[in-house]
């Protein structure tokens, strides 16, 4: 094993770092992912309870494997299934030597948990538990659902994997690009899920963006030469860096143009820039790298007015060609407006009205551009249309406030 790149502090952190290694070892010996995953969770809980009293064992991973193995044996005894017990005994005694390659093990688990057969809603909590070492309770709290509901979601995800008969191995070279896309998509969604406010009742929630970054670091450690993995990590770091400036004192949303850039996290920006640059040098451009490059241009600008908009426009044009995604086209329209003026941006929006007419962001962008042109009444109408369609409470508050300001009495 190489030195762990992903460290969380304290006992909990060490246990979470060990979680995927223990799980992979147990799956390899036992063959059943679902049961192994339960057993390892129990072993982790047992360690968290007893280690503070007894002290950490000399071989923590060995300790976890022994406890998980006992749990499995106990469970099979309870099942009273002689056949399975015999099988298990046989599998233990066959005992293929552990090839403790932490990197591959983690990667196999990530590929398994982010299998394209699973919806992101199932893959995300499973990944957090099996690879991230979080408990069901922590995951349930993070997603604001009751613990039994989350437990069911995870166990159904595991049942689905069992049905699909995914072997506990790295995907074949043919399968690999598609499987990796699925992994990166799940991690990207997890990051966005956590990119919420850091005030109010959400304070107690597990930091999902932080978890997404941690997991993406693990994947990058296992695949150090993949430029898209690096691109995604850079994108996350460069976006996360802006979090402290993204909300005001009362949790209200502060748009990029109005953020106090002194609050941005310089260490994250430096790291993100360096990872993005290294990835782009490989010359295999992908969508996450392009998004990271756009985030980098924002993060490097000393002020909103000094942003390199023509470069951002070029990158959005490339990204639109790569993805055909209407949301990207919308962001490109913003860049066009910054380079060629609000009128040019508005013209592009008309072409998107069909696809995105129900999306709040189309109306919000149009409202901002109309406001710049001085058409306050039309801007107010569009801000209201955006507020009606927003699905995030803070965005709706922001848009409602903007609508009131644009529609209010003029001096």
């Amino acid at each position: 094993m190489t030195t762990p790149v992903v460290t969380t502090e304290g006992l909990e952190g060490r246990l979470r770092d060990l979680a995927p290694l223990a799980l992979a070892a147990v799956v390899r010996r036992h063959g059943n992912f679902a049961d192994a995953e339960d057993a390892v969770q129990e072993a982790l809980v047992a360690a968290a309870t007893s280690w503070p009293e007894t002290g950490e064992p000399d071989n923590p991973l060995g300790w976890l494997l022994a406890v998980a193995g006992r749990r499995l044996t106990d469970q099979h005894r309870r099942d009273d299934a002689r056949r399975r017990r015999e099988q298990l005994a046989a599998s233990w005694s066959l005992g293929r030597p552990d090839q403790l390659s932490g990197r591959d093990d983690t990667l196999i688990l990530v590929f398994m948990c982010c299998h394209p057969d699973l919806t992101p809603g199932a893959a995300i909590p499973l990944t957090l538990r099996a690879v991230g070492g979080l408990t069901t309770r922590e995951i349930a709290a993070a997603f604001l659902v009751p613990e039994p509901t989350m437990a069911q979601r995870i166990s159904r995800a595991k049942a689905r994997i069992k049905q699909s008969d995914v072997p506990f191995a790295l995907p074949s070279p043919e399968e690999r690009p598609a499987r990796l896309r699925s992994v990166l998509h799940v991690l990207y969604l997890l990051f966005n899920e956590g990119y919420a406010s850091n005030t109010g009742p959400e304070l107690a929630r597990t930091d999902l963006s932080g978890e997404a970054i941690r997991l993406t670091r693990m994947v990058r450690h296992a695949l150090p030469h993949d430029p898209e993995v690096a691109g995604l990590l850079a994108l996350m770091l460069l976006t996360e860096a802006r979090r402290p400036a993204r909300t005001g004192p009362d949790g209200e949303l502060v748009p990029l143009a109005e953020q106090d850039r002194r609050l941005w996290d310089r260490a994250l920006i430096t790291e993100g820039l360096s990872i993005a640059a290294e990835a782009l040098r490989r010359g295999q451009v992908g969508e996450y790298q392009v998004q990271a490059a756009i985030a980098a241009l924002h993060d490097e600008a000393p002020a909103h007015a000094e942003t390199n908009w023509s470069e951002i426009l070029a990158l959005y044009t490339l990204l639109e060609q790569m993805t055909g995604n209407p949301m990207v086209a919308l962001n490109r329209a913003v860049a066009v407006a910054m380079v060629h003026g609000p009128g040019a941006g508005l013209e592009l929006l008309d072409g998107l009205a069909g696809e995105l007419s129900d999306h709040h962001r189309l109306h919000a962008v149009r409202a901002h551009l109309l406001e710049e042109l001085g058409d306050h009444d039309a801007a107010a109408t569009e801000f209201r249309a955006a507020a009606d369609r927003a699905t995030n409470p803070r965005e709706r508050d922001y848009l409602t406030t903007k609508a009131a300001a644009a529609g209010g009495p003029r001096r």
Partner: protein
């Protein structure tokens, strides 16, 4: 994504008699259906909450200007059919899935086990993550 599935005291599309006029077996079957649906949604990992509310007769309306004593109006109310009777809060993968659950709830059994075709109001909860572009 989260959706509230709301049902009120209004008339149901089947036009069946109000529940107070059903046989005990019919009432029991209806309640069992609702509980089974909750259990199903728990097993599918989608149920966040499900609650029934006390009836319109004990509902109160409160109005205040923040200074004087609040005005509290007791029921019954002439517009009681518009009051909320209960809700389910579900966390699902798609709007289509929320509609499928609502359809199931709407077909709850009534007299003679016939679906009552209760209108279910489907409302998305403002809980989506914000746009990270900002």
């Amino acid at each position: 994504m989260r959706f509230m599935l709301l049902q009120n005291y209004g008339e149901v599309e089947s036009g069946c008699a109000p529940m107070t006029e059903w046989t005990p077996e019919e009432v029991a079957a209806h309640i069992a259906f609702q509980q089974a649906l909750n259990e199903e949604l728990l097993q599918s990992g989608e149920l966040v909450d499900a609650q029934g509310l006390a009836g319109p007769d004990v509902a109160k309306f409160v109005v205040s200007d923040g200074v004087g004593a609040p005005v509290v109006t007791d029921g019954p109310f002439p517009e009681s059919k518009e009051l909320l009777a209960g809700y389910r809060l579900v966390d699902v993968d798609s709007p289509e899935r929320a509609i499928a659950i609502a359809a199931k709830a709407s077909a709850a059994p009534g007299p003679a086990g016939e679906p009552i075709r209760q209108p279910i109001e489907v409302r998305e909860v403002l809980a989506a993550p914000p746009d990270p572009q900002g």
